[in-house]
């Protein structure tokens, strides 16, 4: 594996770790953005240009901004008095470590049978567009419906309750 891969992987993992370990919630959101950027670069490294730029647009451009908005709207940038971890944090840590142990064991023990194509896939955005309009047109329509429903639902859920009570 190349040096670039280790650099990007370290950046992504450090960003993810910082996103869940830092005390200040705004710092967590910034670390999350670093992790998203690392993943986008990793997608580009995997020759998936479209997915990489979609990752930058959707995650860094929209999701990270939404998270920052939610943090500022709920005014909890400052650290709470009674710690940032829940009461049963140890059980959560054990579950996460167990999940990683099982996943890592499965990956390491199946190395021989994993596919290993060396040829770089040459996929143009045109091919992706044709696939979206051709073979994957039904999922595309469903995603469009889902996004519309989610946006309307999010607005209704976060709307002031006073008007509804009248």
């Amino acid at each position: 594996m190349s040096f670039v891969f280790f650099l990007i992987a370290a950046l992504t993992l450090v960003g993810g770790l910082a996103a869940i370990l830092l005390k200040n919630t705004v710092h967590c959101a910034l670390a999350l953005t670093v992790a998203f950027a690392g993943l986008a670069v990793m997608f580009l490294e995997l020759d998936a240009q479209f997915a990489g730029f979609a990752q930058i647009l959707v995650y860094i451009g929209a999701v990270a901004i939404l998270v920052v908005f939610a943090i500022l709207l709920t005014r909890n940038a400052e650290t709470p008095k009674d710690g940032i971890y829940s009461r049963n944090w140890f059980a959560g840590l054990v579950i996460a470590a167990g999940v990683f142990a099982v996943l890592g064991w499965a990956v390491v023990h199946s190395t021989r049978v994993l596919p290993h194509e060396t040829a770089t896939p040459t996929v143009m955005v045109l091919d992706i567009g044709n696939a979206l309009i051709g073979r994957y047109v039904l999922p595309l329509e469903i995603v469009a419906l889902l996004l519309t429903a989610a946006l309307i639902g999010a607005v209704i859920v976060a709307m002031h309750e006073k008007e509804a009570a009248k």
Binding site: A19, I20, V58, S86, G92, A96, L103, L147, A150
Partner: protein
């Protein structure tokens, strides 16, 4: 080493980090951040399998990842809307303090 193994291990580690965050933090927004990290780890798996698997021109893994990104965006919007609504109602985003189902 097979490069796919390295990507899968990074994705597994990222998934475990996200799971740990979702299970141990008190703040509802941080739990959502953990869930986003888990979704991203799954996306990394899909893209890595697309790149190193046979028939990348069929675009299956890539399409999975693109639809997964779209669904994750919808999830984030609804989840953060719920957090804002709960904060307005209960004046807190501390999950340990939300122990009633009655409004």
């Amino acid at each position: 080493m097979n490069p796919l193994t390295a990507y899968l291990l990074v994705a597994a580690l990222l998934f475990a980090i996200g799971l740990a965050g979702a299970l141990t933090r008190r703040n509802a927004i941080l739990v959502l951040i953990g869930i986003e990290l888990m979704l991203n780890a799954a996306n990394l798996n899909l893209i890595a399998f697309w790149r190193y698997g046979p028939h990348p021109e069929a675009l299956t893994g890539m399409m999975f990842a693109i639809f997964s990104i779209a669904v994750a965006a919808a999830e984030a919007a609804v989840g953060l809307g719920l957090v804002i609504s709960i904060h307005r109602h209960a004046k807190t985003t501390d999950l340990d303090a939300m122990n009633r189902m009655k409004g």
